[in-house]
């Protein structure tokens, strides 16, 4: 599925839209980390919590749980929150 990458992570992906797969957000992030080593730890911490200034959207709806189920037609957005920077 399509994943939109925020500007702060372009140093990893080199592209603002990438393809990744996973049945849940957790699996998707594992796939992203496999493709772009180090990316996952910048958005999810070692206790598997979403980092405070990152936002996760699936099809324009904000998601707060990494176990959120995904379909192959979903669009996932990783966004920088306004609270950061």
């Amino acid at each position: 599925m399509k994943v939109l990458i925020p500007s702060s992570l372009l140093s990893y992906t080199k592209a603002p839209k990438v393809e990744a797969s996973g049945a849940t957000l957790t699996e998707l992030l594992a796939d992203l980390d496999r493709q772009y080593p180090g990316l996952r730890f910048r958005v999810v911490d070692e206790q598997d919590q979403m980092r405070g200034h990152m936002r996760f959207f699936v099809n324009n709806e904000q998601v707060f749980d990494l176990s959120h189920a995904l379909r192959s037609t979903d669009e996932v957005y990783l966004l920088q929150a306004l609270s950061g920077g």
Binding site: F41, D45, E46, Q47
Partner: protein, 401 residues
């Protein structure tokens, strides 16, 4: 940069029978200043006289750089503790003095908590210390919240070091966010005894000072003689707030400490700190963040007083910047302020943002949270601003290159 040496001057033959040897000159070396800021890192390359500085930066524009350190063992590996306003923490590594960087593949991170328990997450790596000279490529890192980590491969991968991070006693001593700085509690001042790689110290704000003589198998605390904020119980380790601890390179049995509550000196084998800050002038006080020790004279140390009264402004007392030096282990302190503004200068200098080089005379350097970098070429007698308009300065280190 390669070390340069000057050839001895050619001398005329002497007429008596004793042959004088030419005076041995210290190999020339240049100073490299490493400036860590809230918005990136800058390297300043000095000329041989420490008079002009070539600015190299920004590196990592927009990244929060907590500490940037050059490995003194190889003179070219740089480690930068970094995060951004949105992204989690990491370590960047350069082996060519900052021309190119690679990210650590496993930055410092706490262990995943068992099911049902709440674990901690590293917010940022705060302090980097190279390991002993005979442990090349090994580094220690202190984090916020408090954690102790070690890398054995030049900063590429990091693992928890010793029991500190998850030991119930140390976790209790680390306290909560209320027992740390406004930016989170820190593990800092990681010190390696140059005589013995198994002999280490570290400090925690809060959480006191701790020592191991067996490379982290066992630890003892070292807070005797240290004051705490009035009202708190000094028996509670969590409320001990050492700001910066330094070991004297010329006498590793002597340590100086700038604490939230005063300036202290410790002479081993004693375990009791002496509050040498009581000898500072009363109208200035002995609160501050950095502590800088002379590379060759263990009786000499410098502090930069910060106003710690009322609401804890943490600015120059009375708006008059000063550095104070002791040349007799803290018995007497002398004010040094030639070149500083005389009034209405409300600087804050963080604990990692003041340092000394090893030249003769010693050069001193500090950076303010208002983005100014100041230095003295004569051990603090006279000061000059060598860079302005930088972002908030978090740390200043110097290295001989």
């Amino acid at each position: 940069m390669a070390r340069t040496t000057r050839k001895s001057a050619t001398r005329k033959p002497v007429t008596n029978t004793r042959v004088k040897r030419p005076a041995r000159r210290r190999p020339a070396s240049r100073v490299l200043i490493l400036v860590s800021t809230r918005k990136g890192a800058w390297l300043l390359h000095g000329d041989a006289a420490r008079k002009t500085w070539r600015v190299d930066g920004p590196h990592f524009l927009g990244h929060i750089i907590n500490h940037l350190v050059l490995d003194p063992r190889d003179g070219r590996t740089l480690l930068a503790a970094a995060k951004t306003g949105h992204l989690g923490p990491t370590i960047f590594r350069s082996t060519d003095l900052g021309r190119s960087w690679k990210e650590a593949t496993r930055p410092p991170a706490f262990a995943k908590a068992p099911e049902g328990e709440k674990g901690r997450a590293v917010d940022h790596t705060f302090w980097l210390t190279p390991c002993h000279a005979n442990e090349p490529n090994a580094w220690y890192a202190g984090t916020s919240p408090q954690g102790l980590f070690r890398s054995n491969d030049g900063g590429v991968t990091w693992d928890p070091f010793s029991v500190i991070n998850d030991d119930p006693q140390y976790r209790a001593w680390m306290g909560s966010v209320q027992d740390g700085t406004p930016d989170g509690p820190k593990l800092h001042s990681i010190i390696v005894d140059p005589r013995d790689p198994a002999h280490l110290y570290f400090g925690m704000s809060g959480g006191g000072i701790h020592e191991t003589r067996d490379l982290g198998r066992t630890w003892t605390s070292l807070v005797q003689g240290m004051n705490v904020v009035e009202g708190f119980d000094a028996a509670n380790m969590a409320v001990h707030d050492p700001h910066c601890v330094r070991l004297c390179p010329s006498n590793p049995d002597r340590l100086y400490q700038q604490n939230h509550c005063g300036i202290y000196r410790l002479d081993r084998p004693s375990n009791e700190w002496t509050r040498i800050g009581r000898n500072m002038p009363k109208h200035v006080g002995d609160i501050g963040f950095p502590m800088v020790v002379h590379p060759r004279d263990a009786d000499t140390a410098w502090v930069l007083p910060m106003d710690g009264q009322t609401v804890w402004p943490r600015t120059c007392p009375e708006g008059k910047p000063s550095v104070y030096v002791t040349r007799n282990g803290g018995k007497r302190w002398q004010r040094l302020d030639a070149g500083f503004p005389k009034s209405q200068a409300w600087w804050t200098v963080k604990r990692q943002a003041m340092t000394a080089d090893a030249q003769d005379p010693v050069g001193l350097y500090f950076g303010t949270t208002s983005g100014e970098l100041w230095m003295s070429r004569d051990e603090g007698k006279r000061w000059a601003c060598i860079a302005r308009n930088l972002p908030e300065i978090y740390a200043v280190e110097v290295a001989a290159v």
